[in-house]
Subunit: 437 residues, 2 copies
């Protein structure tokens, strides 16, 4: 049996999971890749408290030593964060090692330069674990959907957010209450900002959009809303109309460019995404040949993430003896689709249907005035429901579903509506997606 | 741009879909594989009625000419059936061409010899389209799950059967009635036997089981039940207990071997598989690292099948310039898992929970006698419901849910129960799966 040495940067949750999977499934892995995989070296900043004598690999603290070790063929970066991870990956590539990373923020923000470096040196820089943990959506987009022009990618790609929305939906609880529970359960970080405000999902949809459309990674062009403004009343109103509210990362190909956005979304309750509960993730991919497809699994966790990392490892091992070109050619370096050909659209050019909650005084003529404003802005109305049972101080919520509308038109209409004397607070707006792109 | 010539055997629904996809997505495909793909030759038995002068490839009837053409590097077999497909694939491989097929029956029954031939010659024989059309489950099992020991695969892999069960469930209609509609809509063949009796799903689960567990293809060892015995009453009883009835292909790893079976199954209604409606397909894969994952999409159709075939094509093209070993090493030729190490278990060794419908005379003591028989066979009961509202002529159905039980024990118990004077007809039995393997 041939043998390959690997090095692992980081021995936290994921690093330990990878070591565990490589050991537990060693026979299966050898069967599949034809190599014995040997973890030669692991780097951790501080090994105190760990009995390193019991570990069958070198336990060191000097990351530079690992990424320049000539006996190591493949490096796994499982430490997270931007630096020193970025410098270490660059150094490993310059020392002709394939690199595998689970670092979504790094890929979303610095992937462009890293991929170029890897490609120019004929190396792989693999990142299956960076999006949706155990869900192999990176490979699906790069390989299984390679015969398709992708129309859209829509994903529940933040487990903490989905846990919170699921509990709010099933138990009618408020956002802050469920967030506190998620933190107690260890799902949400002490600082849950990235989960709540959409940054984490934005990192991931940046990567998926780049793969789907062959465009450069453009994290700073992603439109982002979080879940902290969603109320149990919105969830209930949506349910009455046949929708579930999910926090989605969306990338949609339009004629003139690509919409990339992250926000709470009403989706039809019979869509498969509506059945994705708790911390699970799922990504729906629509292609012009395959039609609609969906990939579901755990979005995080020690072993699911390790599963993705080890799949990348086996792919890299299979290429070790090949004089192959890097497979990174399709990742944002395409000639046919550059930033000019398929620009990321600005939010005012987005198109979406909308759920609107408008608090109005219960007076004759208000509805007529409001519908007149919508009509003047060429906004079609799918339904209007007056929630009379929620009337307080003569103010009653109107729930409006619009047809698909250009967002700048909606902005205009809502400015006019909010200027009405009978409208008592800013209009609450949540996008609705039917996925019929 | 480099260029590769391919040949297509068969110009029916799928063959035409492939030609259409290659044309419509030519730019995307070139971007992803770095080659211009040129369809040189297409074989059809009879071209009459088709304006071949408008087609940009050679239209011939001699399949042997295509599979021996030195200018063709990759052959697609899209004709179906066992012969001449088998001989043509063998000939193509012997002429050093990579082969792509969508032919599930051929792979399930003759794949072993064909894969050996391809592997020995360093060629690929790819078959993504053979199972679940647009759902890339073959690649998922071979590559994305390569770091896992697979515990189970459970799939809705016959679209016609799922269409029928969905309509029976949602509309309360009888099997024969919905089958007639499916035939009128073109979902079911004029002879729907393979869809109805489970043969089609058995072909597919044979392939998935082999990939999941590294065992040889063993179609003749698959246990098979169809959907024609399912009644609206069973579906309704199941729903009341929180289950949906789906026709599943199942492959489960046990300590002493593998269960491979195809049958109607009660599954918990909150499982993602329960949300798979109509002709859609989905495959759930459980691995010891990833946990639970699911892959969903169209199971058949011109373009979804073409999507899978073209993905295989692009993979094959990427390998054209590589002196790579065939990736077929993992397909049932493994040394670590041979037929002795992981045999296919016979049905009497299956383990499953059960739904039982027992028609009994409504008399004192019947229930006591029945539960005594179950207890004597060490069968635990999850619940018993007497359907009093369905009583006819003093005969009332009892709906029993058992815990997991060895099937030979259940056979013994049901023989004893059916011998009871108060039991008026054979016991109806349907397996229940909770997927907690």
């Amino acid at each position: 049996m041939k043998r390959v040495n690997i090095g692992i940067l980081g021995y936290g949750t994921v690093g330990q999971g990878v070591v565990e999977v490589l050991k537990a499934n060693a026979k299966e892995i050898e069967r599949r890749c034809g190599y014995e995989i040997s973890v030669k070296t692991v780097v951790k900043r501080d090994w105190s408290g760990i009995d390193t004598s019991a570990l069958p690999f070198e336990c060191i603290t000097d990351a530079m030593q690992l990424v320049t070790d000539p006996e190591i063929a493949i490096v796994m970066e499982l430490m997270g964060g931007e630096e020193p991870a970025k410098t270490l990956i660059e150094t490993a590539l310059k020392h002709d090692k394939h690199v595998i990373t689970a670092n979504k923020a790094l890929i979303a923000k610095h992937g462009q330069a890293l991929f170029k470096l890897a490609r120019d040196r004929g190396l792989e820089l693999s990142f299956e674990a960076s999006v949706a943990g155990g869900v192999p959506v990176i490979k699906v987009l790069r390989e299984s959907m390679s015969g398709n022009a992708i129309q859209s990618v829509a994903g529940i790609i933040n487990g903490t957010g989905n846990f919170i929305l699921t509990a709010m939906t099933e138990q009618g609880r408020a956002f802050a209450d469920v967030l506190a529970e998620a933190q107690a359960l260890g799902y949400a970080e002490a600082d849950p900002a990235f989960d709540i405000n959409g940054t984490d999902a934005a990192h991931k949809i940046t990567i998926l959009a780049s793969l789907a459309f062959g465009i450069p990674l453009q994290f700073d062009r992603v439109y982002m809303e979080g879940i902290d403004t969603i109320t149990p009343a919105d969830i209930e109103n949506a349910a009455e109309l046949g929708f579930v509210i999910k926090h989605l990362g969306l990338a949609i190909r339009r004629e003139n460019g690509v919409e990339i956005r992250v926000h709470p979304t009403l989706i039809p309750s019979d869509n498969m995404l509506a059945s994705v509960k708790g911390v699970m993730n799922a990504v729906q991919v629509q292609g012009n040949a395959v039609g609609n497809s969906l990939y579901y699994g755990p979005g995080a966790g020690r072993l699911p993430t390790a599963s993705a990392v080890v799949a990348d490892l086996i792919d890299a091992v299979r290429e070790l003896n090949l004089d192959s070109e890097s497979r990174l050619a399709e990742f944002g370096f395409a000639k046919v689709l550059d930033t000019q050909a398929l620009p990321v659209l600005s939010p005012k050019n987005f198109r979406s249907a909308y759920y609107l909650r408008i608090a109005v005084e219960d007076e004759v003529g208000v509805l007529a005035e409001m519908t007149k404003i919508l009509a003047e802005n060429a906004i079609s109305i799918e339904s209007i429901v007056q929630k009379t049972e929620a009337k307080v101080n003569n103010v009653v919520p109107l729930i409006v579903l619009t047809d698909e509308v250009n967002e700048s038109r909606l902005d205009n209409a809502l400015s006019a509506i909010e200027a009405m004397k009978a409208v008592r607070e800013p209009v609450r707006r949540i996008r609705v997606e039917y996925f019929d792109y």
